[in-house]
Amino acid sequence: MRRLVTRLRELAWRAHARLRRGTLERELDDEMRFHRELLARDLERDGLSAAQAREAASRRFGNTLRLRERSADVWGFPQLETVLQDLRYGARALRRAPGFTGVAVCATGLAIGVNCAFFTLVDSLVWKPIPVADASSMVALVTSIANRETNGRFSHAEYMDIAGRTRTLRDVTAFAPGRIALADPAGGRRALAVGAGFVSGNYFAALGGVAERGRVLVAGDDEPDAPPVVVISERLWRSAFAEAAGVVGRDVIVNGVHVTVAGVARRDFIGVTPVVPDVWMPVTVAARLGIIGASLASRTDRFLALHGHLRAGATREQAAAESSPIVADLAQPAPPAGSELADRWVTGVRVLPQTSLVPLDMQTARIALPGFVAVALVLVIACANLAILLLARALARQREVAVRMAVGASRARLVRQLLTESALIAALGAVLGLALANWAVTATAQAVVQRLPISIGTLVLDLHPSGRVYLYTIALGVASVLVFGLVPALHGTSLDLHTSLKGEDRLFGSRLRRSRFRDGLVAGQVAACVVLGVAAATLVRSLRESLRADTNLHVEQVLVATLGIDGSGRTSPRLAAARSELAARSGQLAGVERTARVTEVPFAGAWASLHVAGRDEGLPRVLPYNVVTPGYFKVVGQRLLRGRGFSPADSGASARVAIITAAAARTFWPGREGVGQTLRAVHASETGADVVTPYEVVGVVADARSGSLWADDAAGYVFLLATPRQVAGGDMALLLRSDGSRRDLVPALSRLAADIDPTAPFEATWVTRLLDAQAVPFRYAAAVATMVGALGLALAAVGLYAVVAFSVRQRRREVAVRVALGATPRDVLAAVLRREIRLVVAGLGAGVVLALGEARLLGATGIPFSPVGAGGFVAILLFLLAVALIATAIPARLALRVDPMQALRQE
């Protein structure tokens, strides 16, 4: 405390001294003169002559100028003032060279922006605390299946047992996402299809959710006899209820069941997923009223995601050990490998930290790492370029530096001055980068969400830059100053004053030493370009590959029409009848070529899988499958290769029939036709034993990727013919093929649906939109990678240009001498370029090696990338070489236009 007072008093004194510096200086001079006079007087008294005494006094006193400077150290804040002076000087220097400043700030800004945008995204997913109460102790519970680390769900009975018995966890919540039809009892309007969250009663209280109006769900709401209530989102309240004040207590119809709106949740309540539903309701009530088709009593109907908070002192391991016995099917013998039961055999519970939306684990790291490497490379290229630009600038400013050194500025002071200039560039770049990143991330997130075809809720991702983002940006800025500023500053101030002042660019002087650094920069950024180019090409190629896989399907004219909301396998008879009617009547509609019913919609996501075996002895394989009506293949345009299609006659027969893709035929009966073989599908029955159903393969269709773009479907697909009972059950989607004759097909279908059931929600979506939506993440990744690659390339081209301009400038006199001695400009050009091209080629070579390493990094993400082949590599290398040649040739030619006589006369 006393020390602080002393320190403050000193600061006050310094500040005061700064203000009356002139007076202090005068006083000091006066005082020192007085001292010297007295000293001289005394010396004179000792017998020296007046002149001798004055001289001796001066000698004994010391250098007045230096003493005054040292005294001034405590007048004001000289260190700070030097920094300010450097800043002023740097700003002036940058203003004087607006072209250079613009390029430098834009380059750093773009590079830092790209890094920052990526970091912001990763930060909001991985580091930002999940926006719930007490996020630091939040954990997710997941089941392990067959000892594999899958993120399995829990049944409601298991949830009740875990929540009731746990001593290590508190506030265990259950959540299941879904979609519901929300209707107004007043009628007239069609019901809305909205995203729903089926939750435990304590969900809001445990996660800190509060109500904007009315109340949130509370523990009593999920009691067996509780009146059915829902909480709606603030977004839904605005859009569907027009912010009505009387929404609380209002009666609404959810999937045909009357419920009461208890309240509106606050906008900032997210819960456990970033995709926020529009309606929350107790899972028990939803199951009891048949809003969802789940069974609460079953121990194996696992559909709930569980979260909780660790109690003080408890560990995740303890929590896992405590809940594992509750859910594990360990009492039963292990089912045979490959059977369907094995895929549901829960072997334990893992408890994972859920302090952020995405856990920071190896899987996340593997996916994020290539991205970090790519954006870091852009920054490296930008820094290398700036270093080159600054080197060139240092050369141009040799005279200025030399003059300042000649008048006594120390080298350290000049280095600091030049670094301040770089720091200014980096600071401006960082500000620009932050702004760019902020804009890009928000715009991209919005665009991605808007392109998703079905509303499953609102994506609420907090993309505001956190303190970490700012720190990261500052760190990047500082790192880039050191990388691009230090070496040029050191080079720029190691001068031979004599030659510099005479205006000589060093001819044969220290060129070798500085060239090595410069050469490294050139080769390095070319190498980085190769890596970025290959990464971009890989992503673009993967995107094209995955979109091309559907060329065997012709779904451009195919609509998927959905009437009502699927009650998770429990479609009401009324809705089933309405759907059958829609299917029948839409087939008659003008403009509809044909229709089909399916359990899996093409490109709506991964299809359900079936355990099938070709022969008795073979282990079952897991293949995506679909249950379809006979018209399916004609609707989606999938060609029949062998055998025959399904016929309506098949469904009446007792024989079960299947059609498989060519790949599936190869999987089960390599080298054979496949038609006429028997396929054995393995289902787990209620009793737990596997039931084998034989199907006769009647046809083989062309291979076509039909489900998820990202799933491994190399083993092929299986199509089973829908039984009349399945069709009548109503739990099948309707596909329609348009004949292209009418543009208003969707409105016509909508009118037809309204005629059949005016209240049920109706959606008609083009299948191509589903395809598009699946491709969105990859499309964005590819677009971003291409942009990043193009940015890197553009920066590298600018850098090469600067390098050559710099090198030619450095060798101007050498060139002039050669031309004067009779060399043709061509010879000289070749001599200048030879060296640069060698560097570029060396860089390309290094880049290929790095790109191969990068391919492994991409492979480790687990995403099925299509790597670039040798042809692609060669194309990228040639392209880069061409860009490098152009970037080198232009400045070289420009430089050679200089009249040799003029260049020589400059000496």
Partner: protein
């Protein structure tokens, strides 16, 4: 400048000046002369370096200064020790004594 006089130890100039001022206010020349006299001209001081030290000590609040008429009739700046300066002097003197004693012990041990 080969003289047999030892260079003043770094940092001790301030202590010596404080000690000098503890006997009463003095101007710079007086302080320098006092140190020189008492040390028996044994310590060589670049006399001017006293002034940056005095500025530093003013900033730290150890000494105060005011312009007064000197006996010769010329105006001179007189420095006065403050309470904080007195405290500082006591602390420095004590640690100086300890250091000297410690050095002396080591030197004697080396001779034995």
């Amino acid at each position: 400048m080969p003289t047999g006089k030892p260079e003043i130890l770094p940092g001790t100039l301030e202590m010596l000046a404080l000690k000098t001022l503890s006997f009463g206010p003095l101007h710079g020349y007086g302080i320098a002369g006092h140190i020189q006299r008492l040390s028996g001209d044994a310590l060589r001081v670049e006399e001017g370096s006293l002034y940056p030290a005095l500025q530093r000590m003013q900033a730290k609040g150890w000494v105060r200064s005011e312009w007064k008429q000197s006996p010769t009739g010329r105006r001179a700046r007189y420095y006065t020790l403050t309470a904080a300066g007195r405290k500082q002097l006591a602390g420095e003197a004590e640690s100086f004594d300890r250091t000297v004693a410690a050095i002396a012990r080591v030197m004697r041990a080396a001779e034995a």
